[in-house]
């Protein structure tokens, strides 16, 4: 007799549709005379939105993760890139993405849809270079990249903000030049508001996972937060997150669990090995689940301290009753909002990340932590060893496992499973 009731998520189907449409629309954009751009999941997508409603993005990381999920195609991509003389240890998202260009194959069928321009931002060593190479592989696609690496949010100042906003203004002029389109500030303002709304709403959803039993497990969260990485600035995503928030609230109210026998709450870190999400299902055999991670919470979700001192969703400008009337204000709001992104802070010091992780572990009542030493992403694995030390010091049992989010050749399921066995055995859990 399981401890808790479970139910499938009602909004699941819709999430799948939004994702499917997104990749279809990008592929078909040209047929409708629209524009295609590519860039990172973190790039300021709200800005090209000002070029019109027929402008479709393809964000590299989630696209590459979809490739990784298809092990056979992924291996072909990775090897195509190695043949070109690129190192095996580079970002595996980037390599899957390049492979898809080199093989001229879109993972959702058909040839790889060539973008009209690259719209990227830069914070890790690979961000700008990823698309520099991609553009070269595509025979030279115009590229604009905004440097956002100007220190932790706690130290933000006018000079830093001006730097980012200045680049944004140049970017808009550049967009007008290369697309020959008139830029519409109203659309920009709307997109900025939607981005703030969707990213704040996602945090609200994650917040609900403080409940015991947890209404969501991280494996399902991966498939839901991904929408934010596709087009966080779109009303479709913002509205969907609002709808989802209501459903999850209702689950909590009715005590609906993600895992029927929840008795151990874990927290993970960095991207999962996309080809091996079954590792998360394996946990359930022990009545354990991952309630999330700074990665799922903070890559898209925007957070801030709540009056009661706990961590919660960041208040949007509109909630604060702030008026956004012109381009410059919109860009400043967008810049400042994004510079506060939790998942960015550790680029300046692991301290910032440890603080947030410990906070999550405490507020979400975590029993143990699994750190993925992810060879596929030096950006998010940055400082992870120091994080480990801080978490252990804070009194949490920590297990580490090496793997790769996008290169299955670097992930050994059996080794990791036996490690999980030992770790959970240590937390006095036996298979159910």
């Amino acid at each position: 007799m399981p401890k808790y009731k479970t139910e499938p998520l009602k909004c699941w189907q819709k999430a799948k549709e939004i994702r499917a449409n997104y990749y279809r629309d990008y592929a078909q954009a040209k047929e409708k005379g629209g524009l295609r751009w590519c860039g990172g999941a973190w790039s300021f997508g709200a800005i090209p939105a000002g070029l019109g409603d027929d402008v479709y993005p393809l964000t590299g990381e989630p696209y590459a993760a979809s490739i990784a999920w298809d092990k056979e195609f992924s291996t072909q991509c990775l090897e195509a890139v190695e043949r070109k003389g690129f190192a095996r240890d580079l970002c595996s998202y980037m390599r899957n993405y390049w492979g898809s260009i080199l093989l001229n194959r879109y993972v959702f069928g058909g040839p790889f849809p060539k973008p009209d321009f690259v719209w990227q931002d830069h914070i890790c060593c690979s961000h700008a270079k990823w698309y520099q190479v991609a553009s070269e592989l595509e025979g030279g696609i115009p590229m604009f990249c905004i440097d956002v690496a100007c220190g932790p949010y706690s130290e933000i100042n006018q000079n830093k903000l001006d730097y980012v906003v200045g680049q944004m203004h140049d970017g808009i002029e550049w967009l007008e030049k290369i697309t020959q389109r008139k830029y519409d500030d109203e659309k920009l303002i709307a997109a900025v508001k939607d981005e703030c709304r969707s990213t704040s709403l996602w945090a609200e959803v994650c917040l609900l996972n403080k409940a015991i039993p947890a209404p969501l497990d991280e494996k399902s969260m991966f498939s839901l937060y991904v929408l934010g990485t596709l087009m966080k600035h779109s009303p479709v995503v913002a509205d969907f997150y609002a709808e989802m928030r209501d459903e999850v609230k209702d689950r909590v109210a009715r005590g609906i669990a993600a895992v029927p026998d929840e008795r151990c709450r874990l927290m993970s870190d960095t991207q999962p090995p996309w080809g091996f999400l079954k590792v998360f299902r394996y946990l359930e055999e022990f009545g354990a689940l991952s309630i999330g991670s700074l990665y799922t919470f903070g890559l898209i979700g925007m957070w801030e301290d709540q009056p009661d001192g706990s961590w919660g969703p960041k208040k949007t400008p509109q909630e604060k009753g702030m008026e956004i009337k012109d381009r410059d204000t919109a860009l400043r709001v967008l810049a400042e909002w994004n510079l506060a992104k939790p998942e960015w802070q550790h680029f300046y010091s692991p301290r910032h990340k440890s603080e947030m992780m410990i906070r999550i572990a405490k507020e979400w009542k975590v029993n143990g932590i699994m750190l993925h030493y992810n060879r596929g992403c030096e950006g998010l694995t940055l400082g992870i060893a120091e994080n480990r030390l801080d978490l252990v010091k804070a009194g949490f049992p920590v297990m580490t496992f090496e793997g790769n989010m996008g290169d299955e050749r670097e992930f050994d399921v059996e080794m990791v499973s036996s490690r999980i066995d030992a770790f959970l055995e240590n937390l006095n859990l036996k298979k159910l």
């Binding site: 090897e79 190695e82 043949r83 003389g85 050749r409 050994d412 059996e414």
Partner: protein, 290 residues
Amino acid sequence: MSREFWRWKEYNWKAPDLDWRSAAGITAGIDVGSVSSQAVILTDGKIFAYSSQRTGSDSPESAQRAMNRALDGTGMSLENIQFVVGTGYGRVNVPFAQKAITEIACHARGANFMYGPTVRTILDMGGQDCKAIRCDEKGKVTSFLMNDKCAAGTGRGMEVFADLLSIPIEEIGDLSFTVEEEPPPVSCTCVVFAKSEALRLLRRGWAKNKVVAAYCAAMAHRVVTLLERTGVEKEFAITGGIGKNRGVVERIEKELKVKAMAPSWDTQIAGALGAALFARALLEKSRSVN
């Protein structure tokens, strides 16, 4: 250590129909490799005799043994050899060599002799490294690539494996083709972790030959990715010990969709042969000078 399955047998060979006494130029090449050493003796540019011996921990002595074994029963002695070139890991430790040249240059030169001037791409799978060499019609190296800091896909990998499964290394190739259907390659070609991988598969009830096939496939694949980085221009030839392992060779051919040229000589002597050919050229050069 009981029986060493990983060792290639030691052997020598002598041309039945050549009389060295009437030869104008006698040169030799010694390839002191990490695992085995070869000596090749040329009389007027023709292969007169050769030998293959295991390399000991003392390379001058290994070079000497290889040379002696080649001279064995020929009536020729070291003094009769006018120019010697050393190559391989121990190239600088060949006491009786006048010059040292790397195995890369020597394999290209040797392959050019063995396979003729049409050979353009050479794969040499030595004990500890794996080289993809491109050369011109004269056997001159135009570019080359060696495996990085991981020895997966080197001859030694196969030796460790042979030892583990206690299968004589000469038999691995044939055994790997006794499977009904080709298994998926093992995921890990790391020399040592191939062990745990193999044990894992045997525990799952795989037959030995199936495991061998999976390992040969993995190694072939590993090598092909290296080859593809230099690009494979025809004709294509394989030298070194692995050249004798059809389990790997045929799988490489299959993946590359390119047939390797049939060797007219023992592929393991390619390096020493190239050295001997350089020795001959150097001998003539020295003569033309004075």
